[in-house]
């Protein structure tokens, strides 16, 4: 039997009886419910973000969003399991593949959105997935009421068992067959009140931890079809370059090498949906043969028009734009009258902050396994956005939507790189050309030299302070190359990847102006973890420290004075900025690091705060600098994300983002000269090792009761400015250019 309850105009809760009497509950969209249940039965894989309870009491929960290390494969199922009052020890979690059906040739996403690593998994799941667990629990309660002869509202659930007032107990497993036959009411069973949560808010280790530490966890790169050829690539150093000469004889002479093929970007396709640059692929029986063949390729590339560009020239261009008085590409915000406020100035300050190009450098290299049959495509893809990967495969194969099977095992890091699917396009193109399954594998030199980078930026900010030492004017001008060019985004929205209209200190300074100057570069750009907050927070939170220094004021006091009384301000994208919550995280890190020692501490203390879409973060760092050796002695981070689903997971995300941000700020920069990227390995793109990072990150997570906000990159923006501010206290050197170590050594 099956039934459904309407949740909203387009979404329904669905109940099914699976094989061996299992009870299956999930959400389906309006378009999908007309399908006969027979199509849905059998394999759990086809059932979406569902919970399945077997008659032996085991519970299977699907995790719909790719887990790139954000912990959503643990936290999303726990949201469902809590509503269900399941025994977590009997819950198995499986990653769901892409859920797609065909609706007259159009895709129908049967699991809703499937997206990882964008900070939106938990908020979306909170809205959608709790009801799945609540309905399953309601059905089990009705079944138990019949069995025990007790009204359902007098029964309670605990750890996979229904308990009657007289102490009689029935297990979920013994109830599933009856539960599957309970007629549904029109009403959606209510979700729990927070006081009854058992799993939400309790710490839980990663569901994949045991598999990971024993080497059994499987990533896309570990998958294989027996007859697949391994493909490795060399890309043209210039996206607009051409292949002038190729000699494949030596490569083809390597035992195991089968074929050498060429790939071209499709000219009419957006960035990230086709090959990133002209490429030559070596296809071989195994990886070692393919890599040897690749080394023996004789290639001569010819630069295109971009062959004269350099990251140095781009920065000069940015500085020249900010020196001049050209109209900005976009005026992001203009409160009051900054020019008029200038006339009331008692003090003025101006500073320029320069931040470099950055690469993603995911641990698991780009790869894709694809098998194309006559009427079917089967892929294993490390992706953050399986629906976007599907679109690339569909365009290149012309297959019906439901004939494309995309599996997404755990992903070895995303950081935004795997929101693009150039590597999927490459694998599908090669499989078509050679008419065999292909296992595409990128090498690190290709990964670092052919990324969708985060572009460099230059911020120039000036502040106006009046006689009462109040900040009355803020004029911010930023120049950068937008990440959204050639991605179907209208010109007047290109700035949205670069800055925000509601970022600090907007709304707190009566005369506030923010302008953006767009730069052009042939180097491909794309989404990057923490964008656009990372670069803006470094400039803004460094500059607020500089203002405090100019006014001879404690920078914590300057910040608290700027935030003012607890109140809320509207955010540009809806929602509110709660200044009380922001001030709170700031005070918490200050207390923990003993900010009262700020002035007399031998080590430097630095602080910074930021907000992202209703979540709040502050860092306080203690840095020592005997001579030229910089050590982060302590790192404290406080976050307020509203309700915490998994405190252990949140600690991991916050500590991890802190270290990633410090590693990036200390060491990392991508540069290009003559249009060619100059970084090719971890020596030239040196992620920080253990010795350069703090020994611990002290995480303070506020346990709130508002709907949960995303946390995967929340702790990134404030780490670098807090470090630069601490370095200033420790060394009297103000670093306004990243990477920090290189600039610090230059200035010392």
């Amino acid at each position: 039997m099956s039934g459904q309850i309407r949740l909203s105009r387009r979404r329904f809760l669905q109940v099914l009886t699976g094989t061996a009497g299992a009870l299956i509950v999930g959400i389906r969209t309006a378009e999908a419910i007309d399908l006969p249940p027979a199509l849905l039965g059998g394999t759990f894989q086809a059932l979406g973000p569902y919970v399945q309870i077997d008659s032996d009491g085991n519970v299977l929960i699907g995790a719909r969003d790719p887990d790139t290390g954000t912990g959503v494969a643990t936290s999303l199922p726990r949201i469902i399991a809590d509503e269900l009052d399941a025994d977590w020890n009997r819950v198995s979690v499986i990653p769901l593949g892409l859920g797609v059906e065909s609706d007259h040739g159009q895709p129908r996403w049967i699991y809703g959105r499937q997206l990882g690593g964008t900070g939106s998994s938990i908020p979306a799941a909170w809205q959608e997935l709790r009801q799945v667990g609540a309905l399953a629990r309601w059905l089990l309660l009705q079944a138990a009421a019949r069995r025990l002869g007790v009204p359902a509202d007098r029964l309670r659930c605990e750890s996979g068992t229904v308990i009657a007032p007289d102490g009689r107990r029935v297990t979920y497993g013994s109830l599933v067959e009856v539960a599957g036959k309970i007629p549904l009411t029109a009403n959606v069973p209510p979700v729990k009140t927070p006081g009854r949560y058992t799993l939400i808010g309790a710490p839980a280790g990663d569901v994949d931890a045991h598999a990971i530490v024993t080497g059994q966890a499987s990533y896309a790169i570990d998958h294989h079809y027996g007859d697949a050829l391994v493909a490795v690539l060399v890309h043209c150093p210039w996206p607009d370059g051409t292949l002038a000469r190729i000699d494949t004889a030596a490569a083809l002479a390597v035992e195991g090498v089968v074929k050498v093929l060429q790939l071209q970007p499709e000219k009419d396709q957006p960035q990230g949906e086709t090959v990133i640059a002209p490429a030559v692929a070596v296809l071989a029986q195994d990886t070692w043969s393919a890599l040897q063949g690749r080394d023996k390729l004789e290639l001569e590339w010819k630069p295109g028009a971009s062959g004269t560009q350099s990251s140095y020239a781009l920065e000069q261009q940015a500085q020249a734009l900010l020196d001049g008085d050209d109209a900005p590409t976009a005026r992001i915000r203009n409160d009051g009258d900054v020019d008029a406020a200038g006339k009331k100035a008692a003090r003025r300050l101006e500073a320029t902050y320069v931040q470099p190009w950055l690469a993603h450098a995911t641990a698991e290299p780009m790869n894709c396994l694809v098998r194309l049959d006559k009427d079917r495509a089967s892929l294993v893809v490390p992706t953050q956005a399986p629906q976007r990967a599907w679109a690339v495969v569909q365009r290149l194969t012309g297959l019906a939507p439901d004939r494309i099977d995309i599996r997404v095992p755990r992903v070895g890091g995303g950081y935004g790189r795997r929101l693009d699917h150039d590597y999927v396009a490459e694998a599908v193109m090669l499989a078509k050309l050679i008419d065999k399954p292909v296992r595409l594998l990128w090498t690190r030199d290709q990964d670092l030299a052919h990324d969708f980078y985060r572009a460099a930026s230059v911020h120039r900010i000036s502040a106006i302070v009046d006689r009462k030492r109040d900040l009355i004017g803020w004029n911010q001008r930023m120049a950068s190359a937008s990440a959204l060019v050639q991605r179907g985004v209208p010109d007047n929205r290109l700035w949205t990847s670069e800055t925000r209209a509601d970022q600090l200190p907007a709304g707190l300074v009566p005369n506030y102006r923010s302008d953006w100057y767009g730069l052009e570069s042939a180097i491909p750009r794309g989404p990057m973890r923490g964008m656009p907050h990372l670069s803006n927070a470094f400039a803004v939170e460094s500059f607020i420290d500089e203002i405090a220094h100019m006014m001879r004021e404690d920078p914590l006091k300057t910040r608290l004075r700027l935030l003012g009384e607890p109140r809320t301000l509207p955010l540009a994208g809806g929602g509110t900025l709660d200044l009380g919550r922001l001030a709170n995280v700031l005070k918490l890190v200050a207390d923990r690091i003993e900010w009262k020692n700020w002035l007399r501490s031998v080590n430097g203390l630095g602080i910074a705060c930021w907000h992202i879409d209703g979540a709040y973060v502050a860092h306080a760092l203690e840095a020592s600098m005997p001579g030229e050796k910089l050590t982060t002695e302590r790192a404290v981070c406080a976050v307020d994300v509203g309700r915490v689903i998994n405190p252990l997971g949140l600690h991991g995300q916050v500590a991890g983002a802190t270290l990633d941000a410090l590693s990036t700020a200390l060491n990392l920069a991508v540069t290009y000269k003559d249009g060619r990227i100059q970084q090719h390995d971890y020596k030239s793109y040196p992620l920080a090792g253990m010795a350069q990072l703090p020994n611990d990150v002290e995480v303070i997570a506020i346990a709130g009761d508002r709907p949960p906000a995303g946390a995967s990159f929340l702790a990134m923006p404030t780490a670098a400015p807090a470090l630069a501010n601490a370095v200033f206290r420790a060394s009297a050197v103000r670093v306004r250019r990243l990477p920090l170590m290189k600039e610090l050594l230059r200035l010392l």
């Binding site: 931890a209 024993t214 080497g215 499987s218 570990d222 990128w442 690190r444 500590a655 990633d660």
Partner: protein, 178 residues
Amino acid sequence: MPPAQDQAMPTPDSNIVPEKGRDGIDVVINGEPFRHTGDPAMPLLWYLRDVLRLTGTKYSGDAQAGNGADLVLVDGKPVAAIGQPMKALAGRQITTVEGLAATDGTLHPLQQAFIDEDAIGCGYCTPGWLISGVALLTRTAQPSDDDIDQLPNLCRCGSQTRVRRAIKRAAAGKAGQA
């Protein structure tokens, strides 16, 4: 070989009789003897991943030591599997992440400590941290922070502080037993 890997492999043809006396390079991997009969220059990494389908040792993308995801123990010393041609390994004892636990499945104390400390980001580089961590604990029962600082591994997810705690937890457990 663990069952998960077996499932990924095609069923062997029962008519195939192993060649007798074929030259090869004999190695012991996780206690089991293997003979490599392919290209003697093939790096250990590809022998593990492509030939044996032991995929716990990860490819870091680099031709030389990269982020440490491909570390294995050769006669107890941590080395990058990508940099070890099979011909240099004749007669050596190799331990991969799959071989750290006891044969009955009991985890190595450091594996357990990684679980207890949640010392995992995306998990891709974790096998490499375990290998270098186990080598460190074998060398130094109570490693200092400076000792831990010397680990060659890289991790963009930022698991380092939790890895440090896990190593100390495993070391403390050892001290407790003594």
